[in-house]
Symmetry: C2
Subunit: 475 residues, 2 copies
Amino acid sequence: MGRFVIFLAFAVGNVAANGCTFKLKTFDVKVDHFSFTSTVTFPLRYLINDTFWNPSSRVAPIFIYTGNEGDVHWFAENTGLLCEFAPYFEAIIVFAEHRYYGWSMPFGNLSYSEPKYLRYLTSSQALADYVDLIEELKIAYPKQQKQHPTPVIAFGGSYGGMLSAWIRMKYPGVVTGALAASAPIWMFTNMTSCDAFNRVATSSYRITGGNECVDIIRKSWAAINRIGASDEGREWLTKTFKPCNPMNELSDIKLLKDWLVNMWVNLIMADYPYPANFSSPLPPYPVKVICKKIVDSVNDSSDDKQLLAGISEGATIFFNGTGNLKFMEFGTQCPPDSEVLGWGYQLCTEMVMPICDTGDTMFEKGDWDIESISDNCYKKYKVRPEVNYIRNMYGGKAISASSNIIFSNDPMDPWSTGGVLHNVSESSIAVLIPGGAHHMDLRPSDPLEPPSVKQARKLYRSVFKQWVNSLNDKF
Amino acid sequence: MGRFVIFLAFAVGNVAANGCTFKLKTFDVKVDHFSFTSTVTFPLRYLINDTFWNPSSRVAPIFIYTGNEGDVHWFAENTGLLCEFAPYFEAIIVFAEHRYYGWSMPFGNLSYSEPKYLRYLTSSQALADYVDLIEELKIAYPKQQKQHPTPVIAFGGSYGGMLSAWIRMKYPGVVTGALAASAPIWMFTNMTSCDAFNRVATSSYRITGGNECVDIIRKSWAAINRIGASDEGREWLTKTFKPCNPMNELSDIKLLKDWLVNMWVNLIMADYPYPANFSSPLPPYPVKVICKKIVDSVNDSSDDKQLLAGISEGATIFFNGTGNLKFMEFGTQCPPDSEVLGWGYQLCTEMVMPICDTGDTMFEKGDWDIESISDNCYKKYKVRPEVNYIRNMYGGKAISASSNIIFSNDPMDPWSTGGVLHNVSESSIAVLIPGGAHHMDLRPSDPLEPPSVKQARKLYRSVFKQWVNSLNDKF
């Protein structure tokens, strides 16, 4: 989950990812799970691997990744844990695509065209999709000893992790337990200070990128404001940062700053010790690499243009690791993809996550101005955020009645500020993974990953074993 | 909950019931809680008593009756437990009206006119109404020591009990615990044998009404079929049973039998030891009274007409206890009220509760024919039942992850066949109340009630105390 997220396109077809081969399938789900007057359905995509499945086992589970805001292939590529655990658990592996993302469009090309079509893009509808899919899979893959129920473990990272936690909370009869990795379920109004996110991000940059880098980033906002104030300056910014279209208007400056904020956040989330393709292909320790490039390039200068040119050079590593892209993906004329549109809609309805800045971080000072956000949402989507919706729907901080959920977080990941960092009940527990960045624990294991990630996986294995056993008699 | 339920009209205004005075209020709720594209609201009615409320108490709870299929006044009249417990707990008492019943109509007079208006009549929407109302009440009635959360206990009987159990399962952060009295949450496809209901009803009649009465009722179906086969016979039946309009058609016979089945079921549900107004005003031990009247009147005759005349005489006590009614409320031309229409719609969508008869009870042999039910539903409402909906939505039999729910049942109440009769978790427990009929434990206490009901209430008091204490430090 970035502030907004850029995804790459993937080919459709059977795919291999992390040592598993998946069949690409679809399952018809109701467009509206919460009424009965329409029976209209649409095909929800999912990836499935049943090669490890042992129907004669009493405990073999279904592992389901509760897909988040993007193409399902992306999550299969970036999530190795299910494939690595499946042989041991003799599990079926499923990656389910979230409605309105990838190819799972309730109304085809019209899905994003009007409020009446966007109406069914909600977390509740997505969870109900997954519930119906799970029930269908239980029928499609029966146990030989029919008296033994099939345990189901839900997995998810970031928004997908919120969904995996919530599906266990809301449907504990369907889902036995959940791993919610880097899931900021408390990143909502009156649950977390809005300034915590930027503070933690800044601390992380100090540690991984160094104070000089933080200082340059901190100064960059004023530099952009100064240069962007004139036509000539915006021409220079256009040449330097290469947006989709020239920054002719003063208001275009905000788009540049938003894009940079998004980059800094994505970089710290994806600060893995090995090359990875998170929101874009990145080298190992990308924060260190990019910060070094920027610091070297700026070379202690206090000149606005030299400072911003340095940032632009660093940004190239982020946005153009493949060398194939001509433009940074921002500007009023960038073609918006469904990920940006869809997540934008979700941010404008239920996923209202306040972020503000008191002016003492590496980001620009700024209030959380819900009125102006609401007005922008109305302009864009004809909806307004409901700030208490998630609290009322999923319990907010009052989740001590939940069970069988693992909440994992790296305390240096800024999203952890909205995460569950302490045990909330006997079996809904918090796992802290220093150095784990944004859900590294879900990624394919790697010799370079920190020991904390390895330890977390060991714990998961034994907890999962308890969960599947508790649903049956014996492993 | 009868097979269908007949409610009496109540005046609107402030009301006194069971020693409490209630203010009648409304609260605007969203018509659709599961989308964001419309902000249309409607006023949901509720009754509230705040005279016992102690804002300086750390533990004083909200007691909320999660209203079922009828006018909210009816539930306040028939539910004494909340008023009796409120002084001890210093509780606010709320009776919330279920959308589409009483005066809580999302689209006014149009609410029942078309599928597009009926669309929002679902248990999920009703629960979300109650959640929003509870959150509003927490704001309207703040505690003096704001750090102390307000415990909430949900109460309900029958379908209202299903709602109270489900609101705790789905929103445990909002609702601390629930008393689900005579709530048949397992009365669904593949959870309970469809023939159990009639068997238990018959056993109850044997015990309370005697074998002779059971024998007469058992014979009555064939007698109706024989007499109803001819025009002359249906004329006689019309004169004898007084429906809204003459039974000219052969198909009218089914309406008479449905009405009688409903009566027998309602009578055994309402077999209280004191006079009460359940689905109609009844004397103490109505089954015994009516059975005696029937047995005396039939007087061992095996003549069809004498047998049915006897049943008709008994029925008068049921349907016309006040002596004011001219007709039995059945026949194609009876004006349907919202209770009948609304509950009919719910039975045709999610509340699909299979009942069948193998031919060895006091009822008529009959299969559970979901195809023909589905076709009838489509004719009537343009919807079809979704038989697994409730299982997927509320967990079916897999509710061991639930907590803080009391399921109470009289094992002789036929609805107990779909009830929870054993503990499902450490704190979701079953309470059996022999002689308790259909949720007598919720009714105003009465010197004539059996000791089992008194004992149950004693238990409730101590369990509720645990619940409210567990949410705070000290009672």
